[in-house]
Symmetry: C3
Subunit: 154 residues, 3 copies
């Protein structure tokens, strides 16, 4: 068998495309957190407060605090790490089993759509079960890939 | 040299198998956290409390709290992210150096066993040094793979 | 096209080398956290306090606390997870597009240097914008790889 990890393989080039987008989407959460930290003056480190909260030392210390909006984006970010990273890893192992490209591509598309929605729903605090559904959709595609992967090597 | 990333290579198919299991095991921690959140009525988001803590607004707000058991599972989950993900990544790079399959397989087996034990020991608060030993066993296999990988390309 | 994932490919062997170093560097953060937990007597779990904070039960309970230095190393560690892991994953997808090895190698080198500096700057609380610059340097290399990867398959 030749290696499945070449761009000629539609399953691999699909993972390269959707996986990269999912990783960029996760990286955006860092910037979003930073945006709310500066906007709401809520920092975790004194050196950040010194830079962004003005010269007044009392104001700097006051801004060393937890902010609901910041913590919400951070939870959404952590949730991405818990889901996007295992997705790309499971995807790599799954592609290693040389799966049907169409099946593989639909896994990747559903996952990316689910996670983009998940972040929007999470950061805006949309009522449940919105977030739960987007979370489960993403997890389901990862577990489905892992199941197919494990079955392929057993 | 032909690509080591084919299922004919026992080292790669082993990583596919044990790596997928380790990722599924990590995904289970999310569900475990969710289970304790609902059981102990301890949520991080108001929209979750609205869904799972009944109609009473006071009870909803009361349930926006940290719970020892929930935080413990979350720490175990975070520890998985800190260890399982680097393991699979180091494993992929290690397999890329075309290692001896038997040596590779034992790395993967020891790692998976160590991490399953780690989670059980952590969530149940078994006395130390149980958790430390399972943690070190997992870390040791990852560092051993990384060491062999770096040596192979130097 | 033959597989880009062989050690003959300088881009892949570079990722194997610098990626493994970056993962080892991330693993070191766990040990650094543990060192400050024991040194400053600040634990997250009662079973840890029982082992490291002496026989006195009051002292054990007192040591179940958050410590500034420990939390700082933990934030640096979490930041590594948020950046090193996506870097290695993006790197694998990027190498899959068979990039120019010299360009690829410089991405890997800049990233590793940026992240080593980031941790030193973070843990020692060096004044901003030091940490911001090292953070952006690392993120920039990851996004640059992701951009090149997505463009290669479009």
């Amino acid at each position: 068998m030749s290696s499945p990890f070449t761009l000629q393989n539609k399953a691999f080039s699909g993972l390269v495309f959707y996986g990269s987008l999912a990783l960029v989407k996760t990286a955006v959460m860092s910037e979003w957190t930073g945006y709310f930290r500066v906007k709401n003056r809520a920092f975790a480190n004194l050196e950040d407060a010194k830079m962004f909260a003005g010269k007044d030392k009392d104001k700097q210390k006051e801004s060393l605090r937890k902010d609901d909006q910041v913590e919400r984006v951070r939870r959404a970010h952590l949730n991405d790490l818990e889901n996007v990273v295992p997705f790309v890893l499971s995807g790599l192992l799954y592609v290693g089993t040389d799966p049907d490209p169409t099946t593989a591509l639909w896994h990747f598309r559903v996952f990316l759509a689910a996670r983009v929605l998940h972040s929007l729903v999470y950061v805006n605090g949309v009522r449940q079960p919105s977030r739960m559904l987007t979370f489960w959709a993403g997890l389901f595609t990862t577990l489905s890939m892992a199941y197919r992967t494990i079955r392929a090597v057993c």
